[in-house]
């Protein structure tokens, strides 16, 4: 009797499982969208966390040494992001410190595992008159803190030369940063260097602009919005150009955008903004390398303090760094 009861319970549970499981195979149709079972995303603090170095780390570091104009930052904590791919023999990655005191430190790094269990990474980037480097990033995973280690980094440019040493306090790991739509999908934020300029170009050569792309990917089709920083008084905040384009694997083969805005007669700013000649590749770390042309037409101050004059600018740009928000 007891065995029969257990058998009935088992069969009933199995039937429930089959019946319920069948709903996961529902295919959404255009007329009747349905939700199927999920891939079980979690956001957890497991009792026994298991960490690997590869992935996207977001954590905190504490400045222990500082020289230059930011010496007062000793003792302060700052958030950082570290992207790592590869294996013990050869890791590659990207270290990002997006907040003051070192807002320009966004550096590609590479290295490998040492005998003492730490992975040693380093790298540098030079763009225009600015330079940033990570001279020594030693990290290892830790069950109590996620990640620990130390980092030496710095940045220099016209009028500043700051160097820091910091202790990595703790970090959380996103093992995967994949987007359902594809390799290009997501919110990309970075900085692009003006490589060449024609038209109105005063004080623009070698300088940088903030770049943001918000891309939706459906197969090889891209759509979304993009902004290339600058003094655009015709928009409230960044001017967002509607974007359309296409992707092939890890490459953007085309991406164009065009925005026209009304500009009051006595205002300076852009009336027409065009993104063209866009070419880019992305990698598994969520980094994009892109070149593009950004053209504007509008009303600009051109030396006569009492009069803004029409003008046009064509900027040929290359990203210094452009990473996808984790």
């Amino acid at each position: 009797m007891r065995g029969a009861t257990v058998y009935v319970a088992f069969v009933s549970l199995a039937l429930i499982g089959v019946a319920c499981g069948s709903s996961s195979t529902n295919v959404p149709s255009p007329t009747s969208p349905t939700l199927t079972l999920n891939p079980s995303p979690t956001d957890s603090a497991p009792a026994l966390p298991s960490f690997q170095l590869a992935g996207i780390w977001t954590g905190f570091l504490k400045i222990t040494e500082a020289t230059g104009s930011a010496a007062y930052a000793i003792g302060a904590t700052f958030p950082f992001t570290l992207r790592v791919a590869g294996g013990p023999q050869s890791y590659s990655g990207q270290f990002e410190l997006a907040r003051y005191p070192a807002q320009y430190v966004n550096v590609g790094v590479a290295g490998g595992l040492r005998d003492d269990g730490f992975t040693m990474l380093s790298g540098s980037v030079t763009f225009g008159a600015r330079h940033a480097d990570v001279s020594e990033l030693m990290v290892r995973t830790d069950d109590t803190t996620g990640l620990n280690g130390t980092i030496r980094f710095g940045q220099r440019g016209p009028g500043f030369n700051d160097r820091f040493k910091a202790q990595i306090l703790s970090a959380s790991l996103q093992p995967s940063s994949a987007f359902p739509g594809g390799a290009m999908e997501g919110h990309w934020v970075g900085e692009a260097l003006i490589k060449a300029c024609s038209g109105l170009c005063a004080s623009r050569g070698g300088s940088t602009r903030e770049v943001e792309l918000i891309l939706k990917q459906s197969g090889s089709t891209l759509s979304g919005h993009g902004s290339v920083g600058g003094g655009n008084s015709s928009c409230s905040g960044p001017c967002w150009l509607p974007l359309a384009g296409s992707a092939d694997g890890y490459a953007i083969t085309s991406l164009t955008g065009r925005l026209t805005r009304e500009l009051p007669a006595d205002w300076s700013g852009d009336r027409l903004m065009v993104l063209s000649d866009f070419s880019a590749t992305v990698d598994d770390l969520g980094r994009m390398r892109a070149t593009f042309v950004y053209s504007t037409e509008g009303q600009y101050f051109q030396g006569d303090p009492n009069r803004d004059a029409p003008g046009a600018t064509r900027l040929t740009m290359e990203t210094v760094w452009l990473t996808r928000t984790p």
Binding site: L35, F51, T77, T145, L169, G181
Partner: protein
């Protein structure tokens, strides 16, 4: 045995409620209306962005049409938390409940506990979590985009550009950046008007040791705190003073401050708690001031 079989049949009918065809009913935004409890197909944490394709009701609020970010943390029942990135404001967190919308879609609705500004939210999701979700975000917000107390109402909505599941492995339950609001519940001494204010916390956890940075708003002074963690609960303190605190010409000077902070976090990435802050110093004109205030966290969630 009969009882077990009946029980199993009953359990089966409850557990597979989603297999029945959804009732056709119009979407009635802005009023949470939970339906029968079915296991959520969306359990976990999600982040995404949506287009603001429609904005009505306030010239101030509608000046900005930037795409906005959002996150969702949903449990296995019908409840969860959504955080919406507002134009030029601290994002707002809203407790949401799930219900079934028209055509089998899932609808998440909720109203923020923060009242300035206050959000009435509806997110509609369609499709498959495994092959991709689509949907819309719609919210009505009461308040001013620049934080002034005057009341404006605006409705903003648009299609979701992308949404993805986020899996995060943490060594400590408290680790991460937390943001939201804090409302003042008591104050003595030289107190200002004391409206609900934006707060940001950075928690670095090393076992039971906790280091935290706290900041009022996005540009305010940062305070470093230390404390201990026990499971999902924590305490943090800070005591700061300088022995010699002379007046600085036309500049406010903080000579002493202290914090006592107790709180906890839950599995939906919400932080609850209260903290007492004391501050004494010299005001803009060099006159001494001091105040002691108690604050309660409101709509504080972990940044995904």
């Amino acid at each position: 045995m009969t009882r077990i079989a009946v029980c199993m049949a009953l359990c089966a009918s409850i557990g597979c409620g989603s297999s029945s065809p959804p009732a056709e009913r119009p979407v009635t935004p802005l009023t949470p209306a939970p339906v029968a409890a079915t296991p959520s197909p969306l359990t976990g944490t999600w982040t995404g962005m949506f287009d603001v394709s429609s904005c009505t009701g306030s010239v101030d609020w509608c000046r900005g049409r930037d795409p906005e970010s959002f996150s969702l943390t949903l449990d296995a029942t019908l409840r969860g938390v959504a955080e919406i990135g507002l134009w030029r404001r601290q994002p707002l967190a809203v407790d949401v409940v799930q219900s079934q919308g028209t055509g089998g879609s899932t609808v998440l609705k909720g109203v923020s506990t923060v009242t300035t500004p206050q959000m009435d939210l509806e997110i509609q999701l369609e499709g498959s979590a495994s092959s991709g979700l689509t949907g819309t975000v719609l919210y009505a917000i009461t308040g001013d985009p620049y934080g002034e107390p005057k009341s404006t109402v605006v409705t903003r909505s648009g299609p979701i550009l992308f949404i993805r599941p986020v899996t995060t492995v943490r060594a400590g339950a408290l680790q991460g950046m937390w943001r939201g609001y804090a409302k003042r519940t008591a104050c003595s001494g030289d107190c200002d008007s004391g409206r609900t204010r934006e707060v940001n916390f950075w928690f670095s956890q090393q076992g039971s040791n906790l280091l935290a940075s706290f900041q009022w708003g996005s540009g305010g002074r940062r305070y470093d705190l230390e404390g201990t963690a026990a499971g999902r609960e924590f305490t943090l303190t800070r005591k700061y003073s300088i022995a010699n605190c002379p007046a600085t010409y036309h500049e406010e000077r903080v000579c002493q401050d202290s914090f006592d902070f107790q709180g906890s976090v839950d599995s939906l990435n919400r932080m609850r708690g209260t903290f007492q802050q004391r501050e004494a110093g010299l005001d803009y004109d060099g006159r001494p001031y001091s105040w002691t205030a108690t604050f309660e966290l409101d709509g504080v969630v972990r940044v995904q």
